[in-house]
């Protein structure tokens, strides 16, 4: 497999590619911070901590908090443990690990092997392809079939709303990336440029739209999951009653929502 960025360096200087990647990274960080500041969500988070501390029945020590953070990292972040539906969990994991692979290998190729003269070992672009393919498999499966507005509300899979901004721009980026790399490898210059343009556009939309899309929730959800664990440990339980004192014996009748 060939390194598409190495081939790209013929028309786009490596420095430009590297600046772009760095800017995208900053847009994510900056976008998240803007979102937090604009909505005051950090203030809400800290205000809630005060309320919780009044309702807590025991103190959670630093060691315990660290253990809960580690658990959050492993269970919630790495294993997507928050998802109560097994198939949505699977598509999330596919998309997440695919995205990580795709982004990391992009950075490696752009920063370490951006020239045709030294395109680097074949494994890197192979992992890049794999990452983009995993994003597409998980992402399209989720977007067409699993989205709750489609699965439970009966909406058309083609209906577009603001909540789709993140997943669609991500899918567009991965899809156009694959199309660009394939077409470029086949030697078609014109289509190579077209798909590269679309790839660059969709990637820019993906990273620049952080203040308006669900992208930033990848940070908020683990924070909320850790908060929930701490509230379980300190007895606050968000006013929920404690689990009842009976043995588990009767099995669950819970079914998935009907698909329409």
């Amino acid at each position: 497999m060939h390194n598409p960025f190495a081939a790209l360096s013929a028309s786009v200087p490596p420095m430009a590619m590297q600046v772009y990647v760095a800017v995208m990274f900053l847009l994510v960080v900056g976008g998240t911070l803007i979102d937090l500041a604009h909505k005051g969500s950090a203030k809400y988070f800290f205000r809630r901590r005060e309320i919780v501390s009044f309702g807590a029945t025991r103190r959670v020590g630093a060691g315990e908090a660290a253990a809960l953070a580690a658990e959050t990292l492993v269970v919630t972040v790495l294993a997507a443990g928050e998802f109560c539906g097994v198939w949505r969990r699977i598509t999330h994991l596919l998309t997440m690990y695919g995205f990580i692979l795709y982004v990391v290998t992009t950075a490696v190729m752009v920063f370490a092997y951006p020239t045709a003269a030294a395109p680097g070992p074949a494994i890197v672009p192979e992992l890049w392809y794999l990452g983009a393919v995993l994003v597409c498999v998980g992402g399209y499966w989720y977007w067409l079939l699993q989205r709750v507005d489609v699965a439970a509300e009966g909406r058309s899979p083609l209906r577009l709303v603001r909540a789709d901004l993140f997943i669609l721009s991500l899918l567009a980026s991965a899809t156009f990336a694959l199309a660009w790399a394939r077409v470029q490898a086949a030697g078609n210059e014109l289509w190579g440029h077209v798909f590269f343009g679309l790839y660059a556009l969709s990637s820019t939309v993906l990273f620049a739209s952080v203040p308006w899309s669900k992208f930033a929730h990848m940070f908020y959800k683990p924070a909320a999951a850790l908060q929930k664990r701490i509230e379980q440990a300190n007895g606050f339980r968000a006013n929920l009653p404690p689990p009842a004192d009976h043995p588990a014996s009767f099995g669950s009748a819970r079914r998935q929502p009907n698909n329409y």
């Binding site: 928050e82 989205r147 603001r162 689990p243 009842a244 014996s249 009748a253």
Partner: protein, 153 residues
């Protein structure tokens, strides 16, 4: 008390959308999470609250007449066949209750086809399924026509 959904806990599974008897739990188009679209048609039946696997749904008393600061939360545990309630008053008083919800395993009801098919005589009679045994008396009560009181019109 209309329901509301906690942003950080909802993961968009759709169980509340599926269960709501009033069809008022729907999906927000910005966050793809659930919310109550018509609180003035919410009966506070708590079906959505009980169905949510993340305990992401809660209730706030109707604004017409319920001051703020109260909480009535529930934990329905199907496997244990229990429902637990925690009530917190505006002034901080708390009351807790636990009740059974079922005495048999879920899915264990014997369907009507599992019984021996009824005879033609049974079909022609006034007895319903499982009668007279399920009545726990010898026979279905009847009114004999000649003993009916001829009442006034």
């Amino acid at each position: 008390m209309p329901t509301f959904v906690y942003m950080t806990n909802c993961d968009g599974c759709g169980y509340c959308v599926d269960i709501c008897p009033s069809d008022i739990m729907h999906i927000d188009p910005t966050y793809r999470r659930a919310y109550n679209v018509e609180p003035n048609m919410c009966w506070e039946c708590y079906s959505c609250v009980k169905a949510c696997p993340q305990q992401a749904i809660d209730c706030r008393g109707y604004a017409d007449f319920a001051p703020l600061g109260h909480s009535v939360r529930v934990l329905r545990e199907e496997e244990k066949a229990t429902v637990s309630w925690r009530i917190k008053f505006r002034d901080g008083r708390e009351k807790n209750f636990v009740s059974p919800i079922r005495t048999t395993p879920w899915g264990s009801i014997k369907g009507p086809s599992a019984y021996a098919p009824p005879s033609a005589a049974a079909l022609a009679s006034q007895e319903l399924a499982h009668e007279p045994e399920a009545l726990k008396v010898d026979s279905l009560p009847q009114l004999a026509r000649n003993r009916l009181k001829k009442g006034l019109v």
